[in-house]
């Protein structure tokens, strides 16, 4: 365990970015999966509200995420340096730098979610001013196509997991010791995205029964990747983690909220479906705690020397 590293001071802005981008990508992934797997019922059928909910959620959240990323920079006015060369103004990307690839990923995914959002506006019958109305109609035909759903799913999966690869591609304690953070974030993103879609769909009067069959698989993935994450970090880090009550507490509460509470509520929901929104809220809260615990891990658990 290398504790001589300096703290990058990735604080609350980044925790919120990881969390909200996770919800946005997870929700959009669920929308794409529904369109791909249940195309018969999604298109104008019972699942339309659910599929559309992911598009309602993703674009506004990605807009917030872009702002969070810019605000976190030391020099926000230079945010475009992430995408374009400062001198030539030509696009540039470093394929071995997760942050460079991620910046392009965020841009592309934001555009994809924007298309989805405009398409949803069009389907909902919202009246838009002249040029936007044409664009939204065009987006409507694009967004329900098979290639768009496949591309959207790939983008969403990338956004939900690259942040984990970004943390691993460092020399910080805990982060650099395991290659499982990306997979864990992906699982958590799909979990929180599904929960967000259920909440929005319910608010819009949709039926979310199809996603309820999907959820246990996501819980299983979250638990598995969390166990793999903890078991793959160095023994010294694990000892520190174990001794520190905060670390264990946050992880335990996260598991409780992400998996156990919704599972218990699901069991109870056999009698009353009114309990289900509480399960979704619980998953969303647990997802935030998970991101907080992992982003703050090097400073909170190991206190690297500065």
């Amino acid at each position: 365990m290398n504790t001589m590293v300096a703290d990058p001071h990735w604080g609350w802005w980044i925790v919120w970015y990881f969390y909200l981008a996770g919800i946005a990508s997870g929700a959009f992934a669920v929308t794409c999966l529904l369109r791909l797997v249940k195309s018969d019922t999604v298109k104008g059928g019972a699942q339309t509200e659910i599929a559309d909910s992911g598009e309602w959620i993703a674009a506004p959240l990605m807009a917030v995420c872009g702002l969070l990323l810019i605000v976190d920079l030391g020099r926000p006015e230079r945010f475009w340096h992430m995408l374009f060369d400062r001198d030539s103004w030509l696009p540039h990307i470093k394929v071995w730098s997760p942050m460079s690839v991620g910046a392009w990923g965020v841009l592309v995914f934001s555009m994809v979610t924007g298309i989805g959002f405009l398409a949803t506006l069009n389907r909902s019958g919202v009246t838009l001013p002249f040029p936007l109305e044409r664009v939204s109609r065009l987006c409507g035909s694009v967004s329900s196509s098979f290639p768009f759903s496949v591309f959207g799913l790939i983008c969403a999966m990338f956004i939900s997991s690259y942040t984990g690869a970004l943390l691993t591609a460092t020399n910080q304690p805990v982060w650099s010791e395991t290659a499982w953070i990306g997979a864990l974030f992906l699982a958590s993103s799909v979990g929180t995205g599904t929960a967000a879609v259920q909440l929005v769909a319910r608010a819009r009067g949709g039926v979310s029964s199809s996603l309820e069959a999907f959820e246990p698989y996501v819980w299983a993935l979250e638990l598995t990747t969390l166990v793999l994450f903890v078991s793959s970090i160095e023994a010294e880090s694990r000892t520190v983690l174990w001794r520190d009550g905060r670390a264990c507490g946050i992880l335990a509460v996260s598991v409780l909220l992400c998996v156990l509470v919704p599972a218990a509520l699901r069991w109870r929901a056999r009698h009353s479906w009114g309990w289900l929104p509480f399960g979704a809220v619980s998953v969303l809260a647990g997802g935030f705690l998970l991101r907080y615990a992992i982003v703050m891990a090097p400073t909170m658990w190991v206190s690297p020397t500065e």
Binding site: L33, R75, M82, S97, T168, N171, F214, T305, E306
Partner: protein, 256 residues
């Protein structure tokens, strides 16, 4: 034609005078912290504690006293950016602000940096920090401006004991190898080189002769190249994504 240059820091002759720190501050116009009022750190004669945006060199003092308090050793080391061949900071920098110069040193182009701090997370030596005034990453420039004018870096010029030696990298490496041999022949069996060969991040342009384990000096034994973790991390994420896809096909179709 320019050639690869480096620092060979022989810690066996460092006397902890901090002339290197002062010279670095003076040449690079780095202001004193806290208006020049520096409280005791409680860690021997170390008054800066670590690298910072204003301290690009850091003289470490390591007091080694046995349990019976009958024997004591005092290790000193002037630490600086290692200017790694495979620099983790340069690998991850998304704006290409960090580059390798014609002297084979690692340099931050200030006008490119946007203060994302990925380089700080990647550096295994805790070298880089963000300037509170400029809000961009800061570290040793290897006195790039001096090198361009055929001048020796300020720290090496100021070192009174030749602990910090500057010169062509190949020449420094052979000089370091013979110095280790000399010390070992005189009975200092613990003498060893750190970063002189390619085992650590492809080789360090600023390498060290140490008198104990690297960890004693706060140097990681096996620093990681961040780019090498991208593929394993991506493979695991891909497996998780495949699970989600299969689970959705199974569970969502089942209900339709």
């Amino acid at each position: 034609m320019t050639q690869a240059v480096g620092f060979f820091t022989d810690t066996s002759v460092c006397i902890g005078c901090k002339a290197c720190q002062v010279a670095c501050h003076q040449w690079n116009e780095l202001p004193a912290t806290n208006g020049g009022v520096v409280p005791f750190s409680g860690n021997s004669y170390d008054n800066t504690g670590s690298f910072s945006d204003l301290n690009w060199r850091h003289v470490k003092f390591i007091e080694q006293i046995n349990e019976q308090r009958t024997q004591a050793a005092w290790l000193m080391m002037s630490d600086v950016c290692k200017h790694c061949a495979s620099a983790p900071c340069r690998e991850v920098c998304p704006t290409d602000a960090i580059v390798v110069t014609e002297f084979n040193t690692v340099y931050i182009r200030e006008s490119y940096c946007n203060g994302c701090r990925d380089c700080i997370a990647a550096c295994p030596f805790g070298v880089i920090h963000v300037s509170e005034s400029k809000k961009i990453a800061q570290k040793c420039t290897f006195c790039y401006d001096r090198l361009q004018n055929d001048l020796v870096p300020a720290c090496a010029q100021a070192c009174p004991t030749q602990s910090i030696q500057f010169g062509p990298l190949d020449e420094l490496r052979s000089r370091a190898a013979s110095r280790v041999r000399q010390l070992q022949e005189r009975g200092t069996s613990q003498a060893r080189l750190y970063g002189a060969d390619e085992t650590i991040l492809g080789g360090l342009s600023s390498f060290y002769l140490l008198l104990d384990e690297p960890a004693v000096y706060g140097l990681p034994a096996e620093p990681k190249e961040p780019a090498k973790s991208v593929v394993p991390s991506s493979v695991r994420a891909f497996l998780a994504a495949a699970w989600v896809l299969l689970a959705s096909m199974w569970s969502l179709r089942k209900r339709s």
